[in-house]
Symmetry: C2
Subunit: 371 residues, 2 copies
Amino acid sequence: MASRTNGGSSNGPVDKGADFANYFCTYAFLYHQKEMLSDRVRMDAYYNAVFQNKHHFQGKAVLDVGTGSGILAIWSAQAGARKVYAVEATKMSEHARTLVQANNLQDIVEVIEGSMEEVVLPEKVDVIISEWMGYFLLRESMFDSVICARDRWLKPSGVMYPSHARMWVGPIRSGLVDQKKNDYEAAMDDWYGFLEDTKDYYGVDMSVLTRPFSNEQEKYYLQTSLWNNLHPNQVIGTAAVIKEIDCLTASVNDILEVKSSFSSAISMAPTRLCGFAGWFDVHFRGRGEDPAQKEIELTTAPSSNTGTHWGQQIFMLHPPVHVDEEINLDVSFSMNRSKENHRLMEVEFDVKISKSSGKILPPINKKFYIE
Amino acid sequence: MASRTNGGSSNGPVDKGADFANYFCTYAFLYHQKEMLSDRVRMDAYYNAVFQNKHHFQGKAVLDVGTGSGILAIWSAQAGARKVYAVEATKMSEHARTLVQANNLQDIVEVIEGSMEEVVLPEKVDVIISEWMGYFLLRESMFDSVICARDRWLKPSGVMYPSHARMWVGPIRSGLVDQKKNDYEAAMDDWYGFLEDTKDYYGVDMSVLTRPFSNEQEKYYLQTSLWNNLHPNQVIGTAAVIKEIDCLTASVNDILEVKSSFSSAISMAPTRLCGFAGWFDVHFRGRGEDPAQKEIELTTAPSSNTGTHWGQQIFMLHPPVHVDEEINLDVSFSMNRSKENHRLMEVEFDVKISKSSGKILPPINKKFYIE
């Protein structure tokens, strides 16, 4: 008998090395920072949030969680902050420090390389500013680090930038549903050719792996959410808020799972229900007793003019549902973190469809992966 | 003052979690296995090596290091092995086990999920078979695991499949040199537009990051080796063997660094010296006192008919050298493992060019990354 060892996939507590390899590495590239800094919707929202609410920054201590190239820390200083702590886990911290100096703000902005969970600050802060939002808001699970920062370092009277966040889901139509189905079918055709060749040339019948291969390809092409910037007219029914987060009070427990039931009417017929899109918005409202002078919204909803680098996450229904009269959807939605990688998500949709004629279609249950 | 913590980049011993995330994950997909199993040059070589040398397998104990989908283990059993231990670090082991059963070889082939370094076998083996070769032979550093397997589990009289390996370098011409230069210049143009926008709209001068950004882009576009399947007529001068490995005796120390000096004559003028290509071949010769009945070669050299999934690694010279008369190259080559990730490589070329007219061109020194 031969003994076995564990290959190393991580089901237990977070493996820091793997987490760094899987996650933080991307943010260490200026190319990636530039992509985010070129997102005008994102930049305008934070810029306006800071400079139209200078009263929150003037003479104050600010903490920027995940400063990246340092832009939010620099704006905070330019808006009058007394001190800004700019925390960054990757080597991007070195570029942030360079940029702070080039803008002559080194006496105000202190760039600290380290993980937010481990950094020690010399004082509590008045403001926590952070651009922590991942695809569909919670991918990357970076808000965990913001919560940790808030609980450890925000004064009782402190303000969160942004202060609120919401997740949205709406029914959509999209040609991607056909494209991905074609891609999947081409991959399977290719597989069958491969099976024949392997048997003919090399004497091994691999057909027993057809099921696992098709599962793998289905997961890749059909069950993994897609990035897209939709046009608003692709949203074919009412969209619903499925989660609201008060950044001042939310706990990690509150965001581990997102569960929501909502109804959506599709009055645009004929059309096809091709799936659902998920997006988010965040708001800069200050705090109840210390509100923003000017409330700012950053939305990643489908837009006819400017998309964001977040786009929307698209969850496809295969096959799509032909809508030939007014229908009503009753949707149960749930999202959990992936067991293999806590920064990725698994999503489940339960959809009941009733036609205005009274007819009820077979219920739909689909699982998706946000990778 | 704020305290710092270490962000987690790995310079010390191998972080197993990061290694798994960076490396093994790919091999857990059937899609990737299929790519390798569809490489006819690779498949034909191993198939012929096994079935034209059945005397090495009949009634013997075999160890397959990194069995993947299990194909080499299955062939070994079909060629008459008494017992095959098929070791695989990823969950691909489950598919290998399924495939073994479907081919009714479960009494001979034992699939073991685990890392080669930790697995314990119940006996020593007569043959170690493995397809361990990465790009330019040594990328992935998987031969380390084969060496470990050999030192622990091969009988003193045992045979290695393959038995020998060689690395080659040759001077080439390729339009990729222009393409990559254009890509790099487009990325820089884009950066300058970005700098203007960021200053105009958001009041932050990022020009101090131009140098690190261009370094990052240069590394990506100009200093990272490229995958390509060259046509033989793109090799414009004599190619040289820069490393020979006897798989039966090589130690990890022998492959940590590859150093070689060689000369190459370019007699095809006019042309452009656009850089160098690196490739490898492996041989199945059995062992001195127990040779192969039929020696098989697997080469990844530029070929006019069939490429391999390994292709060649291309190291570009920017700018290329115009060759208007016969020239001779004196090349010093060295390759080391990357400090950040022991499975990646760093390569350095020192090139002296002398024309047949006696004129000597300025020496060229270039560093490259095999990512």
